[in-house]
Amino acid sequence: MHWLETAAGREEEAVAALAAAPTGDAGGELFTRLRAWAWEGYLCDPVHRGNRDGVGWARFGWLPPAGRRAPDR
């Protein structure tokens, strides 16, 4: 059974366990990777299909400078 399935309904507990894993430990590495992916989805240019309508950018008070947007794909 996949670990995500075992954690169903206990997601907060699972994330807390990963976050508590020592640096360098596989759990710690997974936590860092998952968090990085979450940030990338939340704050990437919407052409990459995350950050829909710039919701993450708005939360950070940031707009991409004119002429610096990623090209549409």
Partner: protein, 551 residues
């Protein structure tokens, strides 16, 4: 294997020094070929954080092995090496002249036990005219005399400095209150357009370090008048040098490389110039073993790869109650040089050579919220009490991003003979060749220096009104600054203790030169780009003369 027709000069690397040398030699009528492992003259300059912060598209990605303090080998990509024809693209634009004392550290500070500190084989005055020429080529701006410790200069800067934003102004006022002497850092970032150079003015977009500039406000080799593409140089992108080939007598005669299609090729040349990132020059020399050079080319006295220095790197950041917008500026905003050279030593700080402080930029060293948020708790420390995930982290990140700024310290790294770039016996690069192996232990005085500079960075932020402050060493092993590497082909007059002469000619050869930061004897506590450019300009004449001697 494809063997090309022989040319006058083959230059390996199309960054700053390789471009200067190749363009200048072509202007003198030499037939020059440049081999560049990276992309062609203008990669995409989009402001996409996924491309440039996550994927680091303008930097190399080869595996490297780093051994810190004789500990276990760590495998990763540790060095931030610019890639691409006409670079550097991903740099910040700081364009300093080294202080006169930086060329005579042994004479001024002595030789600390356990270090291999030495004087350079020439003094600041020898390089001064070449600094002036380099500043002209890169259109460096600044305010002469504003930094009381800057190297003497015969002429003022020809360009105005980068305007300071509100955060930098706040730091400058705080530095003055502390009795320091803040200044506009000399920078190859334009505060006014230069259409004669094809360069526009900085728009303050903030997506600067790690990015190319679509307006060419940030200087690079591709925009100078000596740019190889403007001087008729044949530049072959996507070509990675793998060996310097020698004849039976041991004389360098060609560069062997893997071309953009993955095929083996060889470029014979009467003169060869290695213009790579310093540790990679050493690696290429060590890869060039032959019967005549069983320890590697230029390595008869076992000096290749030694005396490797980076810079000590550390930073602190502070968050203010109001929005300061430090994410809307290039990195050269405000500098403090009061803690460089031997000045802290005289106050009993426990180390001899200090470093420079730069402030007014985001903690990720570039603008963009993803760079900041993704770096939190990884390369940017979280303040005490902030959760590592969830709503608490999001609240802090989104609140702090527009309200924060950082102060970075860049310190001189004392050379040690044991700090060395070699070939790793196990890990291979993408071509199957031995990966770069780095053995490194910071000198004890550098450790003391790091603590001192971090304290000064935090002191400055607090004095400027920051309400939350956190700081740490750079995340590179040993707290080293990833973007600057020097030494490994140290210059000197004695072949027993150096690899090249004072112009970069490899001892024991008459046609193999090294440019870039490899020949640096010591690292100074300042950004190296302008010294790399000036040294390359100074080497053009002897390289041209070496070609003439070949008939």
């Amino acid at each position: 294997m494809i063997t090309h027709d022989a040319v006058d000069v083959c230059v390996v690397g199309a960054g700053l020094s390789g471009s200067i040398v190749s363009g200048a030699l072509a202007r003198r009528g030499r037939q020059v070929v440049v081999l560049e492992a990276g992309a062609g003259p203008r990669p995409d300059f989009v402001g996409d954080e996924l491309a440039h912060i996550v994927d680091r598209r303008l930097l190399h990605h080869e595996p490297e092995v780093f051994v810190l303090d004789d500990g276990p080998p760590q495998v990763g990509t540790f060095l931030a090496r610019n890639t691409g024809v006409g670079g550097p693209f991903a740099w910040s634009g700081f364009a300093y002249r080294f202080h006169p004392s930086d060329f005579r550290v042994a004479s001024e500070a002595g030789i600390p036990d356990g270090s291999s500190v030495a004087d350079w084989p020439f003094a600041y005055d020898e390089l001064a005219p070449w600094y002036e020429r380099a500043e002209e080529l890169l259109a460096v701006g600044g305010v002469a005399g504003e930094n009381p410790y800057e190297a003497p200069r015969a002429t003022p800067y020809t360009e105005p400095p980068v305007p300071q934003g509100p955060g930098a102004e706040r730091l400058a006022a705080a530095a003055k209150a502390l009795g320091w002497h803040p200044y506009h850092p000399p920078a190859a970032v334009l505060a006014r357009p230069r259409p004669d150079l094809g360069r526009g003015v900085c728009t303050g977009c903030g997506l600067c370090t790690f990015y190319g500039c679509p307006w060419e406000a940030k200087g690079r080799a591709g925009t100078i008048e000596l740019a190889p593409t403007l001087q008729g140089v044949e530049v072959r992108a996507g070509c990675t040098a793998t060996e310097i080939v020698c004849d039976v007598g041991g004389r360098p005669v060609a560069v062997r490389y893997v071309d953009a299609r993955g095929g083996a090729a060889e470029q014979p040349a009467r003169v060869i110039v290695l213009a790579l990132n310093a540790p990679y020059v050493a690696r290429l020399l060590l890869l060039s073993r032959s019967a005549a050079h069983p320890r590697g080319l230029g390595n008869a006295s076992d000096q290749v790869g030694r005396h490797l220095t980076f810079h000590t790197g550390l930073f602190a950041y502070g968050v203010y109650d109001d929005v300061i917008g430090a994410d809307r500026h290039p990195a050269p905003q405000v500098g403090v040089d009061d803690h460089s050279e031997c000045r802290p030593w005289s106050s009993g700080a426990g180390f001899r050579r200090g470093g420079v402080l730069h402030g007014g930029v985001p903690a990720a060293f570039t603008g963009g919220p993803l760079a900041f948020a993704r770096g939190l708790d990884v390369t940017i420390p979280l303040p005490d009490g902030v959760s590592r995930y969830g709503d608490d982290l999001l609240r802090f990140a989104s609140w702090a991003y527009p309200r924060h700024q950082a102060v970075f310290a860049l310190g001189e790294d004392l050379p040690r003979a044991e700090n060395r770039a070699t070939l790793d016996p196990e890990v291979r690069d993408s071509l199957g060749l031995p990966a770069l192996h780095i053995d490194y232990s910071p000198h004890p005085e550098d450790v003391a220096q790091q603590r001192y500079l971090l304290d000064r960075a935090m002191q400055l932020l607090r004095a400027s009104g920051a309400t939350v402050v956190a700081g740490q060493q750079s995340p590179l092993p040993g707290g080293m600054f990833a973007g600057h590497a020097h030494g490994t082909t140290r210059m000197g007059t004695d072949p027993a203790t150096s690899v090249t002469d004072d112009r970069g000619l490899v001892h024991g050869t008459d046609n193999l030169f090294v440019t870039g930061a490899g020949p640096f004897v010591t690292s100074a506590g300042l950004n190296p780009a302008l010294t790399i450019a000036a040294s390359a300009l100074r080497s053009v004449e002897p390289i041209g003369a070496a070609r003439s001697r070949q008939g």
